[in-house]
């Protein structure tokens, strides 16, 4: 599961990755024509919309791609840098950059490309941008109130607008495709050319096909988490779903058994209850953890069964269904939940007058494991929640 940094790709190797990504970035920008200011500002006077085409194509491809990675469980979005939202500084900063774009003819990335192939105006622009940062740094006390005002955290646009992720993506892709069509008309008009877009060539066919595919994917790549949570919301569905169960007696036996197959206990009660008492070697989990990268590794440990426990069996079952759907194997639930386990084992009252050998054995077994497990619980220091050392990547500027 991505991101691959820092566990699969180390922090140091990441610098090499940065260099390689940069080389591709620079080459693509230069090949697209972003190394000349005349082409860049063409967008704002209607004679050349290259920037709009490249920028929006890249934006929608990456956006739908990110949705796809999340949909197929290949990326933990909680570890990805989401640019924070400081409303006023985003707006005013953006407008200042807009002015800089039209006055300077570049943006920082493109100025570096242009300077690399020898554009002197770009080198002057870069010099200016260094001075700009310096002005911001030295005048920080003046900028700071604006810089830090109206902090909304790291919301994502569909949350802010309160619409589904797919709807937003669909609208965004549609707007981009419609814009591509109209800017071609505008371009032809401004440059007093015949409209060339309508010509049906193989190239145009491919572009239209790709656009249609992006539109379809923007609807198909649903948020897997929302889907699964929705699925287990249906009580009937959950009831009819079959998940392997482990009986309280078997569970108790395994808790005290030393040579049995390894058992991982995953506790889905809330943190407060878990902190009060917990089973030996159990790990605290939330349903959210099931979708995250590091908890993920924990559930992938081979050669052990994973028993999901919670007070109510239905809670266990919901979590187990999600885990199964996410592809985890050997998931079991504790029959009757911890409520039943408490009653049958931890607070077992022996049958007063056992009638037959079966009841005598039951009394004997349960009294023994009751004492043993209660001792283990007392000695047990909760392991706490599943380990999550990785933090969101640091990005932005």
């Amino acid at each position: 599961m991505g991101p691959l940094v820092p566990d699969i790709i180390s922090a140091n190797l990441n610098y090499i990755v940065a260099l390689l990504i940069g080389i591709c970035f620079g080459a693509i920008l230069e090949q697209a024509g972003f190394s000349t200011s005349k082409k860049l500002v063409g967008l704002f006077y209607g004679y050349d919309f290259t920037v709009l085409r490249v920028f929006f194509t890249a934006g929608i491809v990456a956006m739908v791609g990110v949705m796809g990675l999340i949909h197929f469980g290949l990326l933990d979005i909680n570890l990805v840098y989401i640019n924070p939202t400081f409303v006023w500084s985003a707006i005013i900063g953006g407008i200042i950059m807009g002015a800089g774009f039209i006055i300077g003819g570049f943006c920082p990335g493109t100025s570096i490309c242009a300077a690399a192939i020898g554009k002197i105006d770009a080198m002057i622009f870069i010099l200016g941008s260094l001075v700009g940062v310096l002005i911001f740094a030295e005048g920080y006390s003046l900028f700071e109130p604006l810089y830090k005002a109206a902090n909304l955290g790291n919301p994502r646009i569909f949350e802010t607008l309160n619409i589904s992720q797919n709807l937003f993506a669909f609208l965004m892709v549609s707007v981009a495709l419609i814009a591509f069509y109209f800017v071609t008309l505008i371009e032809s008009k401004v440059n007093k050319r015949e409209v060339v877009f309508v010509k049906l060539s193989r190239e145009n066919g491919l572009i239209i096909l790709s656009g249609a595919l992006l539109l379809i994917f923007s609807l198909l790549f649903t948020d897997r988490k929302a889907d699964l949570l929705n699925l287990v919301n249906d009580d009937n569905f959950v009831k009819n779903y079959s998940i392997d169960e482990i009986t309280p007696d078997e569970f108790a036996f395994r808790l005290v058994c030393e040579n049995c197959e390894r058992m991982q206990i995953i506790d889905f009660r809330n943190k407060k209850e878990y902190d009060k008492w917990s089973l030996p070697r159990s790990t605290h989990f939330t349903v959210d953890n099931l979708f995250e990268k590091e908890p993920n590794l924990f559930l992938k440990i081979k050669g052990s069964i994973k028993v999901f426990v919670a007070n109510k069996e239905i809670t266990e079952k919901k979590a187990a269904i999600i885990a199964r759907r996410l592809g985890y194997k050997r998931i079991m639930i504790l029959k009757g939940g911890l409520d039943e386990f408490n009653k049958e084992i931890l607070q077992f009252e022996p049958i007063a007058k056992p009638q037959n050998i079966k009841e005598i054995n039951l009394n004997r077994f349960r009294l023994q494991v009751k004492e043993e497990i209660n001792r283990l619980i007392k000695e047990n220091k909760p392991k706490g929640p599943v380990e999550k050392k990785q933090k969101r990547a640091l990005g932005g500027c």
């Binding site: 991101p3 090499i16 940069g22 024509g33 890249a58 640019n83 953006g94 554009k119 260094l130």
Partner: protein
Amino acid sequence: MNETKYMNPYLAGLLLGILLLTTIYITGRGLGASGAIKSFTVATVEAIAQSHTSSTKFYQEYSKEHQGTSPLMNWLVFEIVGVLIGAFLSGLVSNRLNLKFEKGPNATRNARLIGAFLGGVLWGIGSQLGRGCTSGAALSGMAVMSTGGILTMICIFGGAYGFAYFFRKLWL
């Protein structure tokens, strides 16, 4: 030799989108540019006036965020060095390498000179306020659907359209 034609913009966009997606998948962060300029500025000021950086709030906050390392040991700095190499190689392959001062057909040399410098200054300030530029805030923000990133994107392009009329003599 003549310059090679530019790439089809949709193809370039597709490649750029795939690159950005790969970057997010590998590193958990997007592309950027202005962050490297910031690192470079901080490193320069640090080298010239050490006592100044340790007593000024902006630099203090910067070193707190990027603890223990030189400002140049930064992901974006490496990326931007890559951009320089990549663009240079691309220019070399397509015969576009030459020292050239570019300006609009009716703009004077001085106007373009001042414009380029002033535009850079505005980007320097604006990208700090916006916490990123066209790459770091607008493009990468759009890919991860960040509200702030998309807001900044709208304001950059909206702002440029708004000001375009007043500076038409520079370009048309």
